[in-house]
Symmetry: C2
Subunit: 79 residues, 2 copies
């Protein structure tokens, strides 16, 4: 089983890294990009677990280890 | 339009950050996680472009700016 977790800043939290990347894109002459937000991505290989157990495990790990819930939010997919 | 880009190490490239997170998960007592790989995640807001143009733009930006093609690979979705 694979779990994919995406951690991004909450809306309203400044993202200077994303802004820098946006500026680099513009200064290299690419047109059409309005905004960039950077986040973290985790690919986890899990033992075979019932879907519900896997979801609870991933939620708990994301909340406690992968994301800082004060400024970050996360999404996940389990495959 | 939104584009999501995921950058991960190519297979065979060591990922010490991922390994450290895996060890933290185990030492906190969670069972069922075999492996963790860390990557980067980018959410880009694009001007409205024809799908093909948007794909070419994202591919080029990912190859030239977001990923280091020697050790990293990327995937993207455009919505």
């Amino acid at each position: 089983m694979k779990a994919k977790v995406f951690v991004t800043f909450k809306e309203g939290v400044l993202d200077p890294q994303g802004k820098t990347i946006k500026n680099a894109i513009v200064s290299l002459g690419y047109e059409g990009v309005e905004d960039v937000r950077q986040g973290k991505y985790f690919e986890m290989t899990l033992d075979t677990l019932p879907k519900e157990k896997a979801e609870n495990l991933i939620k708990e790990i994301a909340e406690k280890i992968l994301a800082n819930p004060i400024i970050e939010q996360f999404q996940y997919h389990i495959e």
